[in-house]
Amino acid sequence: MDAIVCVKQIPDPETPAAAFRVDEAAMRVLPAQGISPVISPFDAQAVEAALRLKDAAGEGSVNIVSLGPDSARDAIKHSLAMGADDGYHLHDDAFEGGDAWTTALALSKAIQHLGVPDVILFGRQAADWDQGSVGSIVAELLDLPSATVLRAVEGGAGSLTVSRVVGDGFETIEIPTPCVLTISNEFGDPRYPQLRQIMQAARKQVAELTPADIGLEPSQVGAAGARLEMHALFQPTSDVDVEIIEGDTPEEKAAGLVAALRNAKIL
């Protein structure tokens, strides 16, 4: 069972709202003081899914691909420390300023360059831009079947049975390999690397790939190839003023709340 997992390094999505800052002019999120970037949480779950498939099959490989600046290496290293075999870093100035389309195009070319495996895994969405489209675009570019937002993945090369989270429950889907899967948080917690594994992963080589290595022109990737244009990035404001209902006992507070709700004609 061979798998490729696409992972992204992002600002920690658990950064408290109070520490979250945007540079509106540069349309960039500013790094929060003392909070390190992390592998996008759903991507760590995708790595976990790949490792479990490989373990269940008893053979195979789990390779990691990430596109991004220097920091993307850390997402790859984290995945290697979790137990993945090899990492590939799409790393070049030309990749900068891209969007879901250019990212998916580069990832699909890199996957073809490495050889299409039995299964290609993604997170349901990268927890920075929250788009949730790269996996599906890669599936389309590689003309592969896809199943998205999964909480369970079972089976081996040939055919997989997956469970998809939908608005009103779950669907069971039979999907042939090779295929594209995107993993949701309902999958469960990913393993957390031990110190020894982190040390081992630190020593592993990560291969770097440029647009030329995967058969793309610089004009097809990054800002030059993007299909979405960003016009603004800002932080929303909340304009409600809370009224804290005071009282000496919980009963008084509860009664105060009900009275306030009735006064405001909410109840």
């Binding site: 969405q125 949730g132 009963e251 507070k253």
Partner: protein, 324 residues
């Protein structure tokens, strides 16, 4: 040929609320962009097709095959492509639903374009639709346009107003013959979540619980309170991830979006990803023992206390108030 094609969805034979919201948005946009609004209904029953005109569609593309009622990527994608190519709209709108988030990026790619996902607001600028979308877990907003055509956009539930249904309006129906799809991935079964009582997305009052409840039993107390209020019960992702409540009840960025008149958040901290699903509520009321919890910044009323003490008192105060 229309200006905007909405790829609609139905449920139990009727148009979904999100589809009516998309038709409302499409009519507001075509008021500026000019032209017509079309609706694609893949696998729809007659009642839904009839409702389409009054809800704001000028044309309905109908692919009425019982096998299409269940959304499957490999079946819906070629049909959606066929309809878009036949109609050649400038803008394609889908809901940010289980179907829309799966279909939109693949469809856009197949059409040589791109999709902007999860729009909160849509505005016309020249021949483009400017999309304001939430990102960074709700901590930021981004304004984007799709530079390629057609502009594919998915839209968050409850972010747009539907039209008042106009019974005098009817849509022209165009039948679309499904071609033989190559069903690679197949849905073999479905587990519908048990939905007793009020549905979360339709509820006028939602009572939601979080990790601070301390265990699954407390959700029983919330259900009891919800019973008094005629409310639905929701939960934070932390509570769902702990297995205390089913994922179908999760409110938030990756869960259900609700916008009730009253959202009662009990032992929920108010993380941006949670607020992404309930921030549109008309009134948020929080019960939290931490006076500094972020949820209070979004709330109209708050009680700072242990929920275990407040909940029984609140239930009896509500019973008294609503009886009298």
């Amino acid at each position: 040929m229309s200006t905007i094609l909405v790829i609609g969805e139905t449920e139990a034979g009727a148009l979904t609320a999100a589809t009516c919201e998309l038709l409302g948005a499409a009519n507001r946009l075509t008021a500026e962009l000019g032209g017509d609004v079309a609706l694609a209904l893949i696998g729809a029953e007659p009642a839904a097709v009839e409702a389409a005109g009054p809800a704001g569609a000028d044309t309905v593309y109908r692919a009425a095959d019982a096998s299409l009622v269940q959304y499957q990527t490999d079946a819906h994608l070629p049909l959606a492509q066929q309809i878009v190519e036949q109609d050649s709209p400038r803008v394609v709108l889908l809901a940010q639903s289980s179907m829309g988030r799966d279909l939109a990026p693949r469809l856009a790619t197949r059409l040589g374009s791109a999709a902007a996902m999860d729009a909160l607001a849509l505005e016309v600028e020249g021949d483009r639709v400017r999309v304001t979308r939430s990102c960074y877990g709700g901590n930021a907003r981004q304004v984007v346009t799709v530079k390629t055509d057609p502009q594919v956009i998915t839209v968050r539930a409850k972010s747009q107003d539907p039209l008042e249904p106009d019974a005098s309006r009817s849509a022209e129906i165009v039948d679309v013959a499904p071609s033989d799809a190559d069903l690679r991935a197949r849905v073999t079964s479905k587990d519908a979540a048990e939905s007793e009582g009020v549905r979360l997305e339709d509820a006028e009052i939602v009572v939601s619980g979080g990790r601070g409840l301390g265990g699954p039993e407390a959700f029983g107390d919330l259900e009891q309170l919800a019973g008094v209020l005629g409310a639905a019960v929701g939960s934070s992702r932390a509570a769902c991830d702990l297995g205390w409540y089913p994922p179908s009840q999760q409110v938030g960025l990756t869960g259900t979006v609700v916008s009730p008149t009253l959202y009662l958040a009990i032992a929920i901290s108010g993380a941006s990803q949670h607020m992404a699903g309930c921030g549109g509520s008309k009134n948020i009321v929080a019960i939290n023992k931490d006076p500094d919890a972020a949820i209070f910044a979004f709330s109209r009323f708050g009680i700072v206390d242990d929920y275990k003490k407040v909940l029984p008192a609140l239930e009896s105060a509500l019973k008294d108030a609503l009886a009298g």
